[in-house]
Symmetry: C2
Subunit: 197 residues, 2 copies
């Protein structure tokens, strides 16, 4: 399994945003939506061995984490608007601390924080932090169940980074240029595909 964890530092946690304004009023939800696209789409198929954890840290109901699970996922289309709609439907569901509520097949909403997500996933694989000063992904031996952690358009906060570092993640970079999170994910998938992780 490949896991991705993306922090949306300003991303909304209530479902009252407009689908016309996901880059503005929804706190750069557009970034997270593109990450969902990168996580799952092959040319004519979806990757079933992937889960993505979108950690939403903005607005009144923060934090919430929306989880997409490839093995169960349906109704995912590649365009931003329809994926934002799946997230909005998830955020409209009432959810209590400790619960995982399904809003559509393969899409779940929880009250997990970034720290809760790290604690949950620590039992499932090895953390891999995507960071400019990491080693080149081409020189890196991927673990069996990598958990890739990325920020949105901002780096992890100091507190978030410290929590991640306490799990002793490997650090990798994806090439000569710093890229958007969704583009980094494409490079990482390609490298892992080539190494048959």
């Amino acid at each position: 399994m490949r896991y991705f964890v993306i922090t949306g530092h300003k991303a909304v946690t209530t479902g009252d945003f407009k689908l016309d304004d996901i880059a503005g009023g929804a706190g750069r939800l557009d970034i997270l939506v593109r990450c969902v696209n990168s996580a799952f789409f092959l040319s004519h198929d979806l990757r079933k061995d992937v889960e993505i954890y979108l950690v939403l840290e903005g607005g009144e109901a923060a934090p919430k984490t929306v989880v997409f699970k490839g093995s169960e996922l349906r109704y995912l289309n590649p365009d931003e608007r329809s994926t934002a709609s799946l997230i909005r439907n998830a955020l409209l569901k009432p959810v209590k601390q400790g619960e995982e509520v399904r809003s559509s097949p393969g899409v779940y909403v929880t009250k997990m924080s970034f720290y809760d997500v790290l604690d949950l996933l620590a039992q499932k694989g090895e953390f891999v932090y995507l960071k400019e000063d990491g080693i080149d992904c081409r020189d890196y031996t991927f673990p069996e169940n990598p958990i890739f952690v990325l920020g949105d358009n901002r780096d992890l906060t100091e507190e978030e980074e410290a929590a991640l570092v306490s799990h002793s993640p490997d650090k990798i970079c994806i090439g000569p240029h710093s890229l958007h999170a969704d583009h980094c994910m494409i490079i990482v998938h390609n490298e892992a595909d080539r190494k048959s992780v």
Copy 2:
């Protein structure tokens, strides 16, 4: 310079589509919009040494080609809706055969067909056809001014492919899986970046 040519086999050529429906009513314009994102975005910068030719082949005014030129480009944001809006503004401009009309800085609309685009670009670089049976891009020596040609969610038509083949393109693939056009572009950029093309 890196050039990208993408065929939008059903993509609209008139500006009367709704920004809420770019994946439907606009003939999968969402695919082309994501290709624009892949062409230009670095983490905190735009690639200036890139041009992308979106060949729109659907609707009453077909064909039209909308060109984005990185060296002049402004007002490009990463979300699909705002890029679709730039394309719609271009399609709303009157344009005659042989003209190139600027709709915003770095964005042009023309009446060029796929064949016209090939003829124009043949003078500027070497064609590289992205195709599953091509050689691995990692084993490929990129030309100085590569012109990457991709289909949208459909392959090139037989006629289009024959026209491209008449220019003796190199054929490359991007890895073990077939990917969406915008994802292929990320891999190609990364490989060219690593080879300092």
